[in-house]
Subunit: 291 residues, 2 copies
């Protein structure tokens, strides 16, 4: 049984890709594509994501569906999310479900069912929010152990407002995000041998290159998931310190920069799949050139 | 147009109740009730919650459905959640949807649609997680302004692990949860006149009575939502400091202690609705006696 961390690292090596494609179906933008202009919203979101998977899936070490964009459409949206996850899994692409959940006791157990192969979604990994502390993550950690699944804990997020809490300085000199990183290490301990990639990864915004380098050192066994490239303006060229000497240990998410690449390339919306593939290829190659 | 804070305070006065009934449908336990023993899981969850609303709704100043227990059943579960919310609203009971969401930019906007009357759910208020900072809450705050809706920001949660991050001491002497409380005040500023209840409330665990008193002072315009009574063991008698001189300003959640009251009362599962009403009455009266 291979842990999620080792499985993701193997996929990164096999595909020679450190690119995670974020699936954030924004209806207003999808509606510009003639074939989706009149579809029901959940159908448009699902079919758009399936076309992106078909066009770009082989370029990605993982995909990251964003639950909010499905959830806002109610039950049919939730079904569309399940369909998209099932298709990605059938293509052998690891699925990091971006839900940023965090809750306690029996509630966290209910959320952790998203990691169960017999659950409604069956994701390979979840993003989780650490604000409620260690015991709030215990049910998620147990689910990881049972299902060889993974977590990406929010450590330092890509938005400017991440400064408000995550950068507050503690009396011992650490910042709040450093304290979270130290908890991530604690959760990694005992999950796989020394030197292996832990199933417990961390979200660190690519918009803060200094923090990327620092937090890479601070969580040596965690794969970093780096959002913020593309629409949020982070420069991939500055991300070399995210990767270890072996070129592993980090993957870079792009969502809007790939999904809606036709807009930036001034191409007809009909060409969305080709434009997405070109943008994904460019970013994958740029990341491969770093390591 | 009346703000959510003032609306909830008016309902508390009108019903003479500071009790929030949490709707956490746990299938294993519901299955003990003969009428739900063989129903499909989402139907059992929905119908159980509808019976609780019918039995106890008039005793509650608000109800708090917990999204996780519906979401874990996939699309049909999400539909059951929508049905439960619609029924509570048709009974005039404010709905605090417990989702603990928190995300950035367009993703937060998608989650904030849960507060839109034209959205899939149409909740009156949401619980939100502050870890991502101020800009992550902006779309939720805008939705509150547009729809006279409310938020309850996680400040100090009821679980023991809340100590891990929320109690860390900053170099300026505040704890992390104090810093969040100060942000809550900032978000309340300008939302309603001085002396009115803000639409931006705060979650403070009833399991920490000292923190309840302290945080009550620190967020003078925020209604506190206090979980932890019942299954988590907090003593309602210690909660007097949560309420202002006028007896307003706080409401106390109980979920399992009411929903599954028949178990503790050693009654047949068939009597779940009456047992729930008795438990809800007892807690409502105990809280009314405090103020």
């Amino acid at each position: 049984l291979i842990s999620f961390g080792e499985r993701l690292a193997a996929r990164m090596a096999h595909t020679e890709s450190r690119l995670v494609i974020g699936l954030d179906p924004n209806l207003e933008r999808i509606r510009q594509i003639p074939q989706f202009a009149r579809a029901a919203p959940p159908d448009a979101a699902r079919d758009f994501c399936l076309e992106i998977l078909a066009s770009c899936g082989d370029l990605a070490c993982a995909v990251k569906p964003q639950a909010a964009f499905f959830e806002c459409m109610g039950a049919p949206g939730w079904q569309a999310l399940a369909d998209v996850i099932a298709q990605a899994k059938s293509m052998g692409i690891p699925v990091i479900l971006d839900v940023k959940r965090g809750d306690i006791g029996s509630t966290a157990e209910a959320y952790a069912q998203h990691l169960s192969p017999s659950g409604a979604l069956g994701a390979d990994a979840l993003t989780v929010n650490p604000y409620l502390g260690g015991d709030s993550l215990d049910p998620f950690l147990s689910a990881c152990d049972r299902h060889q699944a993974g977590l990406f804990v929010l450590v330092k997020t890509s938005n400017p407002g991440s400064h408000d809490l995550q950068d507050l300085v503690l009396e011992d000199g650490r910042r709040v995000c450093d304290a979270v990183a130290d908890l991530v290490n604690r959760w990694s301990d005992g999950r796989g041998p020394e030197g292996s990639w832990s199933p417990i990864g961390a979200v660190v915004g690519a918009t803060h290159p200094g923090d990327v380098a620092h937090l890479r050192q601070r969580m040596p066994r965690s794969i970093l998931l780096l959002p913020g490239v593309g629409a949020q303006g982070a420069d991939p060229a500055k991300l070399r310190p995210a990767f270890g000497a072996d070129g592993m240990g980090a993957c870079v998410n792009s969502s809007r920069g790939i999904l809606y690449a036709w807009e930036k390339a001034s191409l007809p919306a009909d060409d969305f799949a080709e434009a997405a593939r070109q943008a994904a290829t460019d970013l994958r190659d740029q990341l491969a050139g770093l390591v």
